[in-house]
Amino acid sequence: MKISTRDNIKAFLCLIPLILLIRITDRIPWWSFVIGVGLFGAATAIWKWKVSAFVTGFLAGLVVWAGASLYFHYTLGGHVLDKIGVLLFVPGPVVILLSGIIGGLLTGLALYTGRTAIRVSAH
């Protein structure tokens, strides 16, 4: 399958509000957004979007998690990042990157899983 940059961008742009929408819903398990992303991954297969599932998912997850961490840190103005950094033996800003990587890995893997679940034949 030839990857389409346009489909990748489309998927990326859909994923960001999708993750945000699910994550801002309280009282559901923290990881539940992977289900939504997985279903979206299956949908991209059905829609025959030519996407690089893991990479696109990873980037979307990274942007949402790291971006949200950055946003909350600056709007809330507290001091927790540096302290968590000391706990994890990394500088404070790296904690934001770590958060992004976790979001990226989960989103990438979820999108890839969903995408792989559906096989669409040529006929």
Partner: protein
């Protein structure tokens, strides 16, 4: 055509494993996925918006009427309720908002439940020790007494409901950070937890002991030398009750080797575990009558010295309801204000430092079912402790007890010292008591009579209560259950086979050491002995005279004082003992044995006033010098395997002055016989060399060496403030040492409206992510005070508050 591809199961499995791994603790790593999730994780703990809101309505249940909580700039809550139960409900709610994890963790630690949170084996040992000490048992028995009192039970029930109202509103996002890190959740608060916090404080105040050490010391040294080195009283003491000074002291309190105490009774030559508590660290409190203040109104000052931690042990607040309007500090987890003031009175507390923890050597049958008492064999009581452990099977511990109390150490739990095995512990903390009532009543007391009635309920630990009333009464009480003992009883290990060693009576309340409006116009306590040696009853303890002596020096030298003078006293860095010892050292040192540089340094000492100021360049050298003098003098004692502490500094100074050729000055392992002058000279030369080394490394000021650590309760460095350079010294009034010091400085001048100042090393919030977590620390270290906003009316509170909450029934 669409088909399900089985191949997706592999990434699905990988995803599931990843989610599981990120949801729980892995080795030392916290649950990273949840923790770093920006929507619910650690970053959300930076959220201080509820504290910054101008107005916030919080739905609550069970209130009789709405409660208003006003916050000032420092986020001190001022709670205004229309009913007393609502007041304590709101206190519980607000305290939980600020400090839930701290109070919950404190209750786990007191109950011996840390294994439920931490998997390491040392926590199992801690829990077993805590349970064997009988803290939980004592709390349960006290709670029965507490619940039988209508006023206390109503307050405690309301407080508990308030804490639980907060807990029930929590979700993962706004849960305290420590729960997220350690991977557990808060459980509902109970009255028992509050009682455990109180017992934990009593344990901290009375947990120190040296009965076995003293028993071995008196056997090793003999009566005469023991009394010379470890006297009960000092001639220059300034006790809490400083009237009726006797002509002679020491002879009246000569400790004799009790008849039962011999090497067969104790098995000698074992190593005694060192205690973390340092009895030389304590608290200061004094009250000055209006007759010697500039304003004409009395002033009360108090700075309790405790383990300095983050979050701080105290939390500031004002409580207002019909019949009560009080400001001060509370211990999170307990209702009411513990140290503080209202419109009419102010009170302070220091530790009484009496020995109320005694050990009885038992004779136990070989099958460990009976023990001997007065020639009869009585059955041992047995209870089974169930210790839940994180990720491991439940641990069951069997604890035996006698009439005296629990057997803490035995074959199955030997502790660090085999000689403590099979001894029963008798501890005042075990007796049921209701200290909550003291504070509930103190909060609303209007005069000396009501203050005295309130402290009458206080039993354990023995504390010095300092009092000042708007009507110009000042008073001090050494208050608590003080057992009636025969001389020496409890100083040494007691014989558990005879009931004659069990005390059953207590010093009558009216005979406890106390003073009301003394002629000197001030009262003071700083963990010194409560009386002179002519007191009618025997007692012993772990007292310290140095700070009391300094307070006496300063107050007796003044004709008139004001609030600024009180601040200067609390921040005074002078060690009164150093002031006494330095001229003696200088008089004894042999200049001929010193180099020119050493002589010049010595000359600088003549200009020093014994003040451990931040930039002082000579204080550290003196400390090294005195340490060396002590080590070289008491080297004989250090040879005892059970050695844990040298005689008091006053004893050594007296020896230098009175008996310079005493055999203790002769250093072991040297062929010649030294005297005090040689010891002092050699000690100076060694100290000088050590100090020079540091000076070359660029460390010379006192603050380069004197640093304080504010450790988070989990010891996590990330949540602590480590290595803060500070002025002061452990025996100065500004008694700061590595992790102990003034945990709350308070000065109150009563009058038409109280003027009060205070500060503690911490911040109102217990949340490490909050900007209010350690917001007072720098100012505390600089010796600043905050004006305490005591609102006299609801109108004032409304006008001056920077934010407000309204607790409303849903």
């Amino acid at each position: 055509m669409k088909r399900i591809n089985i191949g997706f199961l592999f990434p699905l499995a990988a995803l599931a494993i990843l989610v599981c791994a990120l949801s729980q603790q892995l080795f030392i790593l916290p649950p990273l996925g949840k923790l770093l999730d920006p929507f619910i994780g650690a970053i959300q703990n930076e959220d201080d918006r509820p504290l910054q809101a101008k107005e916030l309505t919080i739905p609550a249940r069970e209130l009789e009427a709405p409660v208003q909580v006003f916050f000032d700039e420092r986020k001190v809550p001022h709670i205004y309720a229309q009913h007393t139960t609502d007041l304590y409900f709101a206190q519980g709610y607000v305290t939980a908002f600020f400090r839930l994890w701290q109070m919950d963790f404190g209750s786990y630690a007191a109950a011996g439940r840390l294994s439920e949170i931490f998997a390491k084996k040392e926590f199992l040992d801690y829990d077993r020790n805590q349970r064997r000490l009988g803290i939980m048992d004592a709390a349960q028995r006290s709670l029965k007494l507490i619940m039988a009192d209508r006023e206390t039970s109503a307050a405690l029930n309301a407080y508990t409901r308030g804490v639980n109202a907060y807990i029930q509103q929590l979700d993962y996002r706004n849960m305290p950070l420590e729960y997220k890190l350690l991977g557990y959740q808060p459980e509902l608060w109970t009255n028992l937890k509050s009682t455990l916090i109180l017992k934990s404080m009593a344990s901290r105040m009375t947990g120190y002991e040296e009965d076995l050490f003293m028993s071995k010391m008196i056997l090793a040294l003999g009566e005469e030398r023991f009394n010379q080195l470890f006297p009960e009283y000092y001639p220059d003491a300034h006790p809490v009750m400083n009237t009726d000074r006797p002509a002679a002291t020491a002879a009246a309190q000569y400790a004799k080797i009790p008849g039962y105490l011999n090497y067969a009774f104790l098995s000698a030559n074992s190593v005694i575990a060192e205690s973390a508590w340092n009895p030389r660290l304590g608290s200061n409190s004094w009250a000055v009558s209006g007759k010697m203040t500039a304003s004409g109104f009395p002033i009360l000052a108090n700075d309790p010295h405790l383990n300095l931690s983050l979050p701080n042990v105290w939390m500031e607040m004002q409580l207002n309801a019909p019949g009560v309007n009080v400001y001060g500090v509370t211990i999170p987890g307990t209702p009411a204000i513990i140290i503080g003031f209202n419109e009419n009175i102010a009170w302070g507390i220091t530790n009484g430092a009496d020995d109320v923890k005694d050990w009885y050597k038992l004779k136990i049958s070989p099958d460990y079912r009976q023990y001997e008492l007065d020639g009869k064999w009585l059955p041992l009581e047995v209870r089974r402790e169930t210790i839940q452990r994180k990720g491991q099977p439940v641990f069951y511990d069997t604890v035996y007890s006698t009439l005296h109390g629990p057997i803490v150490f035995n074959k199955s739990f030997p502790g660090k010292d085999p000689d403590m095995a099979d001894m029963a512990l008798r501890w005042e903390l075990h007796r049921p008591s209701n200290e909550f009532l003291t504070f509930i009543q103190l909060n609303k007391a209007r005069n000396y009579r009501e203050y005295k009635a309130a402290i009458w309920h206080y039993h354990c630990p023995l504390q010095n209560f300092t009092f000042a009333g708007k009507d110009n009464n000042i008073a001090i009480h050494h208050q608590g259950s003080m057992p009636l003992k025969w001389p020496g009883q409890g100083k040494f290990i007691l014989d558990g086979t005879t009931s004659a060693h069990l005390y059953t009576q207590y010093v009558p309340a009216d005979s406890l050491p106390q003073l009301l409006n003394p002629a000197c116009n001030y009262v003071q306590s700083a963990n010194q002995r409560p009386t002179y040696s002519n007191y009618a009853y025997y007692y012993n303890g772990y007292y310290n005279e140095t700070r009391a002596s300094r307070i006496e020096q300063l107050l007796s030298a003044k004709q008139q004082v004001d609030v600024d003078a009180m601040k200067a006293m609390q921040l005074d860095n002078v060690n009164a003992f150093t002031v006494m010892a330095l001229p003696v050292l200088l008089a004894n040192v042999k200049p001929a044995a010193l180099s020119k540089a050493q002589q010049q340094t010595l000359a600088a000492f003549k200009q020093w006033n014994g003040s451990y100021d931040y930039d002082n360049k000579i204080a550290r050298l003196y400390n090294l010098w005195w340490r060396n003098v002590k080590n070289d003098t008491w080297d004989e004692l250090r040879n005892y395997r059970f050695f844990i502490k040298s005689p008091e500094d006053e004893v050594l100074l007296n020896l230098i002055q009175q008996d310079t050729h005493n055999a203790y000055f002769d250093r072991q392992h040297t062929p010649q016989r030294e005297d005090a002058a040689e010891i002092i000279t050699n000690a100076f030369i060694t100290a000088f060399a050590e100090n020079e080394q540091s000076r070359k490394e660029g460390r010379e000021r006192w603050s380069d060496f004197h640093k304080v650590n504010l450790l988070h309760l989990t010891n996590l460095r990330a949540f602590s403030k480590m290595g803060l350079p500070v002025a002061g010294q452990q025996e100065a009034l500004n008694a700061i040492s590595a992790n102990w010091g003034p945990s709350w400085r308070m000065i109150v001048e009563l009058g038409d409206r109280p003027r009060a100042y205070g500060i503690y090393p911490g911040g109102q919030s217990g949340n490490p992510g909050s900007r209010y977590y350690d917001s007072f620390v720098d100012d505390w270290n600089k010796g600043k005070y905050y004006t305490l906003n005591f609102f006299m009316s609801l109108k004032e509170a409304k006008q001056q508050a920077s934010g407000a909450w309204k607790l409303n029934n849903r």
